[in-house]
């Protein structure tokens, strides 16, 4: 049995993140925000906690349940965005979305291991799995900024 097609999607780096998730858990720092997002069509869930300090992502963790694509994407995302400014993180979110939809993307941004998810472009039904954690991050960044603005 040849698994050539499946190998293109489920690269070993993806399966490694699925099996050994990085930055797994929740931040219990009172300065952090946690957002949840789910994919109503399949039930995948992602919770992203993050802390912004001096305009930069100082800490990020995730928890969730779902397929290898959504969960590994979350793990790879946390590695790629730690230490970035909020603006850089937004750029990376856009970049990742373009990548998994098979569109041109900026090469000077570093997606790290998440680059391995480019194979998803060949599986349109799975693009939403890959982008779910990134959408949660986007929401988290907005909420974190709002919260900081509200503080005296």
């Amino acid at each position: 049995m040849s698994f050539n097609n499946l190998d293109q999607l489920y690269r070993s780096v993806i399966m490694d993140h699925y099996k050994s998730p990085r930055n797994h858990g929740t931040l219990d720092d009172p300065e952090s925000v946690t957002v949840s997002m789910n994919n109503p069509s399949c039930g995948d869930k992602i919770h992203v906690s993050l802390k912004i300090e001096d305009g930069k992502i100082a800490a990020v963790k995730y928890e969730g349940s779902g397929c290898a694509i959504s969960q590994s994407s979350a793990s790879m995302m946390t590695e790629a965005i730690k230490g970035l400014s909020v603006e850089q993180a937004h750029e990376l979110i856009y970049d990742f979305s373009e990548l998994v939809q098979g569109r041109e993307h900026e090469d000077d941004l570093d997606l790290g291991d998440a680059e391995a998810l480019q194979g998803v472009a060949q599986y349109p039904a799975r693009i939403k799995c890959a982008t779910l954690p990134w959408k949660a991050l986007e929401k988290g960044l907005r909420e974190a900024i709002e919260e900081q603005k509200e503080k005296p």
Binding site: N5, L6, Y10, C42, G66, A68, I69, C129
Partner: protein
């Protein structure tokens, strides 16, 4: 049953997907259409497209006749007393909402109860949540046995003198459980409640006799029974439909209209506002002709063979959990240890096998099964035993692949 001859009637089945012959096992989501049904739609639009019950011109008469002939075919197919009891809707969801809105909201109040089962599709769950919220009625659930069946003693205990509506699926779209809706209807009636049956997963696969079931309402969809999408049926006992106010008003459903008041047309048209899905209704009639020519008993037998074989084959694969009772309708929901249903589904898709992965519009049931989602293979009479073997092999390959990369 000559499966190969039947398959030749379904053009879509003869194709390669990802380099493999298509194995379509997502029939509980929607079924494929035979050429006879497709040709009926084309014939309508090519040759006699006209609005119904309006003009006096020739094409309008042809369209109206065919549209009403289809209603008679449906009546006969489910053994209703009269075509007045056959209301065209957009599908099961629309039918159930119509009951909830026009019957439920109008008649329920504080202290009344609605009872449903834990294995309802969202279409037979959320409308009742809405009715309960709007009227102050209480929504209750039958308990479910660990194997995914209902126990009639539990049913007896759950339905009380306060229960006004019992609504239950005939066949579970997740577990394949066949519920004893006739017995439940009897219990409901003894307590003075009405019985609603969601027939979306039963009508395509077995003979239906609404008078024998003695249900008060019965809902089903065309697209799951080789007919077009966008059309379905609400069956209701005439007296109940007669007493119901229409959920939608407008064209087609009126008798006389004045500046400030209007009166309604007779049944069934009273409950069919606006230009209906004419081609769809006629197409559903063609689907019923096709199914009836094969025979619903024969279809049921064929699917039972497929389902029994699939249940046995999948249960024997190490690491595979099959959900629901052994005695089941033509579908199998399962999970493979350590592999998410979406990943299983992608692996099967690579071999041309179409299955459904997800919560199957039954999130509360998933919670009860203690899983977030399952893979579901669902069969129809055009599926072959070879396809079931193909599925079992596909599952073994998926296990091998993910076992290897993990």
């Amino acid at each position: 049953m000559d499966i190969q001859a039947i398959r030749a009637d379904f053009p879509i089945l003869n194709q390669q997907v990802n380099g493999h012959p298509l194995v379509y096992l997502d029939n509980a989501a929607t079924s494929q259409k035979p050429k006879a049904v497709i040709d009926t739609l084309v014939d309508y639009y090519n040759n006699y497209n006209s609005n119904v019950h309006r003009g006096v011109h020739t094409l309008g008469t042809v369209a109206t006749n065919r549209y009403e002939e289809a209603r008679e075919k449906i009546r006969h197919f489910i053994h209703a007393k009269s075509t007045k009891e056959i209301i065209y809707t957009r599908g099961t969801t629309d039918s159930l909402n119509m009951i909830a809105y026009s019957y439920g909201r109008a008649r329920l109040g504080q202290g009344d109860e609605i009872v449903i089962s834990p294995m309802e599709h969202h279409a037979n769950l959320i409308p009742w949540q809405q009715v309960a919220q709007a009227t102050g009625a209480t929504l209750k659930y039958f308990p479910m046995q660990p194997d995914g069946t209902l126990d009639l003693d539990d049913v007896q205990k759950t339905i009380t003198d306060r229960t006004k509506i019992v609504s239950c699926t005939h066949v579970s779209n997740v577990l394949g459980t066949v519920n004893p809706v006739k017995a439940i209807a009897k219990i409901a009636h003894d307590k003075g409640a009405i019985m609603v049956v969601d027939g979306a997963q039963s009508t395509p696969h077995q003979p239906i006799d609404v008078q024998d079931l003695d249900c008060d309402f019965f809902a089903f969809s065309s697209h799951k029974m080789i007919g077009p999408t966008g059309i379905g049926v609400l069956y209701g006992k005439e007296a109940l439909l007669e007493a119901m106010e229409p959920m939608e008003t407008g064209g087609e459903m009126i008798d006389e209209v004045g500046l400030f008041h209007a009166t309604w047309a007779d049944l069934p048209w009273k409950l069919e506002a606006g230009t209906p899905h004419i081609a769809g209704a006629i197409g559903l009639g063609a689907a019923i002709d096709y199914l009836s020519a094969i025979g619903m008993e024969a279809i049921h037998e064929q699917e039972k063979k497929l389902s029994d074989a699939a249940y046995k084959m999948l249960s024997e694969i190490k690491g595979v959990t099959v959900y629901g009772p052994a005695a089941r309708a033509g579908l199998v929901s399962f999970n493979i240890d350590g592999i998410h249903p979406h990943d299983v589904s992608t692996a099967l898709d690579m071999e041309g096998i179409a299955v459904r992965a997800g919560h199957h519009c039954a999130q509360p049931l998933m919670k009860q099964l203690a899983c977030e989602s399952t893979v579901r293979a669902s069969f129809y009479f055009y599926n072959s035993m070879e396809e079931i073997e193909y599925l079992a092999n596909g599952i073994k390959h998926a296990k091998e692949f993910f076992g290897h990369v993990f």
